[in-house]
Symmetry: C2
Subunit: 122 residues, 2 copies
């Protein structure tokens, strides 16, 4: 990946080289996460995670927003009395304190980028 380096600071990696973890959300089924850009990289304002969803995330809420981009797979995002279909190229803005749930509906895993502000604390 690295062609040449002297005095570099930027970080450039393939997501596959980042440790995959089970997502620590109560009520999640078959959800893994890779923290791509977080505090340990020096990020202060917002963090980038990549999720693979074989089942669903819990229907839950928290006091910070999500900015999501669908990379692959098919699914839905459920909100308060609303459900939207998800496919590659779709993005979601989920305001703070808005209930939401992501579910896989196709054969392949639903793979998404999900970014959060630093207020999550990680």
């Amino acid at each position: 990946m690295l062609i040449d380096a002297y005095g570099e600071e930027m970080k450039v990696m393939n997501y596959l080289d980042v440790q995959e973890e089970m997502a620590k959300m109560e009520g999640a089924s078959g959800v893994t996460v890779r923290w791509l850009i977080s505090k340990k990289d020096g990020a202060k304002n917002f963090f980038m995670r990549r999720f693979e969803i074989e089942g669903w995330t819990p229907y839950h809420t928290h006091p910070y927003e999500h900015e999501v981009f669908i990379l692959s797979g098919e699914g839905t995002v459920v909100g308060e009395g609303v459900e939207h279909r998800l496919s590659p190229g779709v993005f979601c803005w989920i305001p703070a304190d808005e209930p939401h749930q992501f579910k896989k509906t196709g054969k392949e895993k639903l793979c998404i980028l999900c970014l959060i502000p630093h207020t999550d604390g990680r």
Copy 2:
């Protein structure tokens, strides 16, 4: 896209339904941008943009960071004495004030998500 809605607030769209603009960066060649999530959506902390790069962005710097994910195409990101290859699945953390340039190197456009903190002012 919308299956059912009452009282919804979340925004769910395909990026293709967002206006594509020429990127307003001096020295850019063949770069378009779609602002997917920004202030007008209510985002306060950080903003999501999707760029299509037929040529290159300028080698430039600014006082805010980038968090980038490569969606399609091949390219490189150039930093201070460093160059990294880019392909789908690669992500980049570019700290504030770090010089950088994105270039297409393959046949297809280099398509990336590039997120910035609200300090950019848009």
